[in-house]
Amino acid sequence: MMMPTPLRLMKTAQMAVMAVLAVLATLMPMPMTGGGVAFAQTEKITITEGSIEPTPIGIADFTDETGKPGVLGRQVAEIIANDLNGSGMFRSEDSAYLIPPPSDPSIKPDFSEWAPLGVKALLVGSATENSNGMIQIVFILWDVVTEREIIAGEGEVSEVGLRRISHQIADLVFESWTGDSGYFDTRIVFVEESGPADKRVKRLAIMDQDGHNPTYLTNGSSLVLTPRFSPLVQEIAYLDYFNDEPSVYLMNVSTGRSELLGSFPGMTFAPRFSFDGKKLIMSLAQNGLTDIYEMDLATQQQRQLTNSPSIDTSPSYSPDGDKIVFNSDRGGSQQIYVMDSNGRNVRRISFGKGRYATPVWSPRGDIIAFTKMHKGEFFIGVMNTDGTGERLLARGFLVEAPTWAPNGRVLMYFKQNPTNEDGSGGESYLYRIDITGFNERRMITPSFASDPAWSPTLP
């Protein structure tokens, strides 16, 4: 059970003073120069070129009661640096630890010490134990160039909550600097695999998005597949093959309790939530046909959306719920199609070489992630919702099942590379990559892992 950590933003004295100065500045007339007539240049100069690169940031170890970097403070700084570096949007400067941070975050840092490191942003803070045995966290993010305060906040946690509050600070740094929503205070559900190939045990497991705190959600007595998080609450839909019969289950992650969701004729595959969390969409194989169905979670009523002799599978809603992307072999080879949410107006959007599978609509609505197979290799890629602008981000012998971080900036998937020349052997692991195609990182899991699904931001 995850407890929300109380992290609140501060309007510090410095921020208040700056606000007053800004008001005064608007009231004061501009100083006159030269012959006594102020001449304003009205020509507007448009700047259309810049650079796109990760922001160099200094993350100082948080200070303790003595005003010096402490053990807890170092942990906090490391968690935040790891989060921000993994986003591809920041690059923490390692040598920042050589510069002693201010003994208290309320003291304005001496920026001339940090600027030579090339850092544009600086995070300072403190982690001190109070009389209740709780840890008091204070942080301030500075713009090193303009010497302005960007955001400040404070919170109180037990030692158990230290990782979580650090992720929340990383989220605030990310959000205030990029203007985009953060995703560090989230979790990943996945299928954890152990044992030999002929006696494989597959269990549902959950961990923080940085791979910490893994725990099991099922005991491995039945085969579980394709877990999917609800975009709104801490609930997972998944397939459980009990007695070789696949059934769709819904699990409350906080209580660990599962309920069987209706019963379907034939075989069901790949259930996925709508973005409002009210419906599930899945494919259903019956009498040799595989079509797409949706299910209203409140009434458990099902509706058939496609009706074709082809195999239609892997459906995923657009964030506004108006469209559905899925893959189908109706045109001969497996390709990606988009249709209206009532099943009408089906049109193919993938036209590249190879076969396409598992399309997933980004939570931002702008792009679709997919798996592609071409010339014996697998790829994870993204394309615009009309199929243009295809970009391949990751490749391997087998890469599959992309899942989006809730802000639509980072993808996670699993990858398996064979250990034998004939293509056999090898185990699967989880990887993630940001949508610029850099920073592919392997996630550390207790054992082999597949089928990741990203949670929404934690409550």
């Binding site: 500045a25 501009m30 120069t33 030269g34 012959g35 001449f39 304003a40 240049q41 009205t42 020509e43 507007k44 100069i45 448009t46 700047i47 259309t48 070129e49 810049g50 650079s51 796109i52 690169e53 922001t55 949007m89 390692d94 040598s95 050589l98 510069i99 001339s112 600027a115 030579p116 490191l117 090339g118 544009k120 713009d143 160039v145 303009t146 302005r148 960007i150 959000e175 205030s176 600097w177 990029t178 203007g179 985009d180 931002r364 702008d366 900036r409 949508i435 610029t436």
Partner: protein, 178 residues
């Protein structure tokens, strides 16, 4: 036993490598600090030069007033100066990449400069949006950071009146093109 010894040797090697790495980082940081000191010294020299120029302009003004002929000013900035400004600011400007809706994140700012072309003040024109739209706020901060980071701007120092207040439009649509 042998393997333990090997372990120890390996660990010692690793420690030594870590220490060497640490020392290397220290040296790098020192080098960066030295660079800053040099930069500061140069800035001081530049400031002294500019002070002298300011004094010369003041004298020119006084002479002009005494003779009732104002110091000459030119009109708009030339195309060459504007190109120089664009190239200069492109180096310092790093808008948040991939921000949703780059099309609508164009930021207008007014920059006030002293006669050494140093940025004195940056005003975000759309303050209301700055307060309500966090994505725009991040884009506006990046524009402000660019001009402050690039200060002083490459401008003809003898023509302060023509550029003491400049309006810039930072258009981040190049992000979606790349």
């Amino acid at each position: 036993m042998t393997s333990k010894l090997q372990d120890l040797t390996e660990r010692k090697k690793q420690q030594r490598r870590a220490e060497q790495e640490k020392e290397k980082k220290k040296q790098e940081a020192k080098a960066k600090l030295n660079k800053l000191l040099e930069k500061q010294a140069k800035k001081k020299q530049d400031t002294a030069d500019a002070d002298r120029q300011e004094a010369e302009e003041k004298i020119e003004d006084l002479i002009g007033q005494a003779l009732n002929t104002p110091r000459k000013t030119s009109g708009a900035l030339g195309a060459t100066v504007i190109d120089q400004l664009r190239n200069h600011l492109a180096i310092c400007w790093s808008p948040p990449p991939g921000a949703a809706g780059a099309d609508s994140l164009i930021v207008d700012i007014i920059v006030r400069l002293n006669n050494r072309a140093e940025v004195q003040d940056v005003e975000i024109v759309d303050k209301a949006r700055m307060n309500r739209d966090s994505t725009f706020k991040a884009a506006a901060r990046a524009a402000r950071r660019a001009v402050v980071d690039c200060s002083p701007l490459p401008l003809p120092l003898d023509n302060h009146d023509t550029w003491k207040e400049l309006q810039f439009e930072f258009d981040p649509r190049f992000i979606t093109r790349s």
